[in-house]
Symmetry: C2
Subunit: 223 residues, 2 copies
């Protein structure tokens, strides 16, 4: 359900490297285009976005965009691959910190949710517009996604085998965790009073409870 209403306006920049890039450089323009496209794809959809609209946001005409980009499809590919790459990167970092299975599950859930709040536009587009990707990009993204998902499932399984988690199905439990995090990208409001970190912590707690983890409620985070 959550999507409440249309996605609220507001920016969700890919880090713009505030100053380290030569001003007026070609990749600056590319980045501005990507940014405008992201916001439009998120609010009116890939198919619903025209090159003229993207150009409007930069004060130029549609055809002028082609001096900086190859195609509309290229913009989508960059957005979606950037999203999956970043999700996998954060997930790997979370796992690399080690800890018991509850800690690791809690951490990959938290980074999952935090990303979907912080970069809600990338996440929203990344999930919604996968079928707008032409091959072989679509297949590639689906492969990355399967890898991302399998980390959750494997961790749930590990916990269940150790009798730390109690669940009827590793698969369904991990899907439930993934899906409730994805949902965040549809309703999170960055102008609200809650930070992505707070939301991430709360959801990670919900996930652990869902898995029937016996909480010591104290030492789940290392000192």
């Amino acid at each position: 359900m959550p999507v409440r209403d249309r996605l609220p306006a507001g920016r969700t920049h890919v880090p713009s490297a505030g100053g380290s890039r030569p001003p007026g450089g070609p990749s600056d323009r590319h980045h501005e285009i990507l940014d405008a496209a992201l916001e439009l794809f998120a609010t009116v959809g890939y198919g619903g976005t025209t090159m003229a609209q993207i150009g409007d946001r930069l004060g130029i005409r549609g055809p002028s965009l082609y001096k900086h980009i190859a195609s509309k499809q290229e913009l989508l590919v960059e957005i979606v691959t950037g999203m999956m790459t970043e999700l996998l990167r954060r997930q790997q970092a979370a796992l690399a910190r080690g800890g018991d299975v509850s800690e690791r599950l809690q951490r990959i859930t938290a980074v999952h949710v935090q990303y979907h709040a912080e970069q809600r536009y990338e996440a929203f587009v990344g999930h919604r517009e996968i079928d707008s990707l032409e091959e072989p990009h679509r297949t590639h993204i689906l492969d990355l996604r399967r890898e991302y998902e399998s980390r959750f499932r494997e961790l749930v399984q590990e916990g269940r085998e150790l009798d730390v988690f109690r669940t009827a199905s590793d698969r369904w439990s991990s899907y439930a965790i993934l899906d409730m995090g994805i949902g965040v990208s549809a309703w999170y409001n960055p102008s609200g009073s809650v930070s992505p970190e707070q939301l991430a912590d709360t959801y990670a707690e919900l996930a652990l409870r869902m898995l029937g983890a016996e909480r010591d409620s104290a030492n789940t985070r290392e000192g």
Copy 2:
């Protein structure tokens, strides 16, 4: 994440009333069109579906559809309003059965999930294509959805005030439950070995755990 791959082929009929309708009657054709449109909207999107494609499924040309329907938009409106109406109807029936707050929360979660598995195409389209609705339909649907969601939130609140549930936020908990159910419509495979009922029961259990409900694990269902 879950969407695994493209939505698998397969039918999800609005009940076709096997035989009680006069054969060749006008509403038969209307229903066939609606059915073809549903499957196409679910697999290639509303914007990605052409009238010619819908016609193809019935062995007729695109323009011939207009003898039975008013517009492409009308088809979407019927699908989405049908979905929200049915969800609300089932939810009300679940609440009307009474019981304590855990029982009622468990039941509205179960019907939520069961619908998203049984009618996964309607549900998928109903969530994904809301922004493809023209006004005033879009606003109307969003109103119905808010009503549907609020029942979850109110029930979570009731349980928390009774100290039956323990949750950091009624809102986030209810969104989590709603979103994990919505996710089902993207990955559920009706050809698999698990029934919508089984999935619904399992998810209802996950929801209760998430809310920190103290399970007696026995008398949560009346005799």
